[in-house]
């Protein structure tokens, strides 16, 4: 699985309140959440982000509240991957559980500039900055976790393993 898009860069400790402010948590509809994604970090993000775009963040990405609405908002906004040197643990789990691929890669997080074109190959853990030509190697996403992403999240993965058809959330 590969994605390609433009990089959106944020700093260290990008908390889930900034990814989706609590004032919008009176809904769990991913489309509504996507419309306010990153609003307090970059008010133009939601209207300008395109499918396959990549969020490049600093250390401790996704810290704070356990709200699964945060990765859901990013995914529904079209974000194809999140790259950071480290992730807060609840955000890490939530992202895979809802089918948003994330990669730990300090070098890529430091090297990729805003607006650069980026390609991510999840099986190989290969991150290519197409603007500069630089390549970065992250830990590849192991096949079973890749399968969770492909199924669209943990529950669909469970259903598929149980021989039931996937349902959309």
């Amino acid at each position: 699985m590969q994605i390609e898009g433009q990089a959106w860069c944020f700093g260290d400790n990008l908390d889930t309140d900034r990814i989706i402010p609590a004032r919008y948590l009176n809904t769990s509809d991913p489309k509504e959440l996507a419309a306010h994604c990153m609003e307090d970090a970059d008010a133009t993000f939601a209207s300008r982000v395109a499918p396959g775009d990549v969020v490049v963040a600093g250390r401790n990405c996704g810290c704070g509240s356990s709200r699964e609405h945060a990765p859901l908002a990013l995914k529904a906004a079209g974000v194809g991957a999140v790259i950071a040197p480290s992730f807060a643990r609840i955000f890490f789990r939530n992202s895979f559980n809802i089918g948003l691929p994330i990669l730990e890669c300090p070098e890529a997080a430091a090297g990729i500039q805003p607006g650069n074109k980026v390609r991510v190959d999840f099986e190989r853990g290969l991150i290519t900055d197409l603007t500069t030509g630089r390549e970065y190697v992250a830990q590849p996403i192991p096949p079973f976790m890749g399968k969770i992403i492909e199924c669209g999240g943990l529950i669909n993965y469970v259903r598929e393993r149980m021989g039931k058809a996937s349902t959309n959330p």
């Binding site: 400790n13 908390d15 309140d17 900034r18 402010p21 609590a22 004032r23 948590l25 009176n26 809904t27 769990s28 609003e39 307090d40 970090a41 250390r59 401790n60 810290c63 704070g64 509240s65 356990s66 709200r67 699964e68 609405h69 859901l72 480290s86 807060a88 643990r89 609840i90 789990r93 939530n94 559980n97 809802i98 999240g153 943990l154 529950i155 669909n156 469970v158 259903r159 149980m162 039931k164 349902t167 959330p169």
Partner: protein
Amino acid sequence: MPMTVTEKILARHTGKDEVCPGELVNVRCDVVLGNDITAPLAIAEFERTGAGRVFDKSRVLLVPDHFVPNKDIKSAEQAKILRDFARQQELTHRWDVGTMGVEHCLLPEQGLVGPGDLVIGADSHTCTYGGIGAFATGVGSTDLAAAMALGETWLKVPESIKFVFHGRLGPWTGGKDLILHTIGVIGVDGALYQAMEFTGEAIADLSVEGRLTMANMAVEAGAKNGIVAPDKKTRRWVEGRNQRPVTFLASDPDAVYARVYEFDVTDLEPQVAFPHLPSNVRPVAQAGEVLIDQAVIGSCTNGRIEDLRLAARVLAGHKAHRDVRLIVIPGTQAIYRQAMDEGLITVFLDAGAAVSTPTCGPCLGGHMGILARGERSVATTNRNFVGRMGHPQSEVYLANPAVAAASAVLGRLADPREVVQDAD
């Protein structure tokens, strides 16, 4: 093999004699928890599993507390999903307006979590229960959904960091100051994926409420859990409350820690975390002239009776500054009633405070005290991220209840000793 208290609890819930850091384990959960923000998503995912019924209707705890009493039509619809599900699943424990409380104040108070328990909750401050010697950690809604179906979840056994607090705390410092100071030293990712174990004579002296405050904010250092091994004080606190058998476990003397930090807290001053990170900590005496518009006393961090007593001690005989909105939110109905019986509510009303029914409300910028652009609040809550209590250009200063009360009186960040002269 020697083990830490965290490892011992995890081992007991996997049916193994021992576990070691890094090991992936499937654990049995004593209780699982959700609230009116996270449960609706979890319920939708639970329905999709096809499980039908929850694993144990007495062990699934759904507390509507964030946007409740319903703040608008949309949040009313969300809370209704939780209410309908609780009714339909015939959950043993059901709370609502008039009986509920802020979840992490409520569950220990009602004896639904206790020493030795393993708890996961779709709320990051689930780690609070480490204050009474439970292993408790936050997860997201999908993990909660799976645990509601199976009564199990998978976890990686965390390494533990040991924090030893030597010395004696002063009259105006408590659990909040210890944890803010600690986060200030190690940073907001200083304990990422790890367990924070709090020990030493200052912890032995600390009230159970203060320990709950410390464990509550372990997540603000990135920790998986915070824990104080239960002692006689814990035993006295849980006696008469606990609805299930409890287990008192302690770390072995030769248990292995990733790191050990030692602090002497005898001269520790009341601490304040400046915007916009809980690690941006300095003594309130060095705050400078920071004018405030609002003071919030409450939350899962500092909404317990001891917190209200401390605030009342500072506010007694004083009025909140005329430019400050003082909001006091008892953590549960029982705390509210006790505060009334002890005369604390009268002190708050005399000081010009608004006293609210329990809710998380302003802590997360939900309702009941949202800040406008450029406004500042001192708060006994746990996060001061950008926009946390309202407008993205508002500011939150985290402090203990005495500092919040003193700041409310003087209209600026203030040390309690500026308001109360006769500290013992």
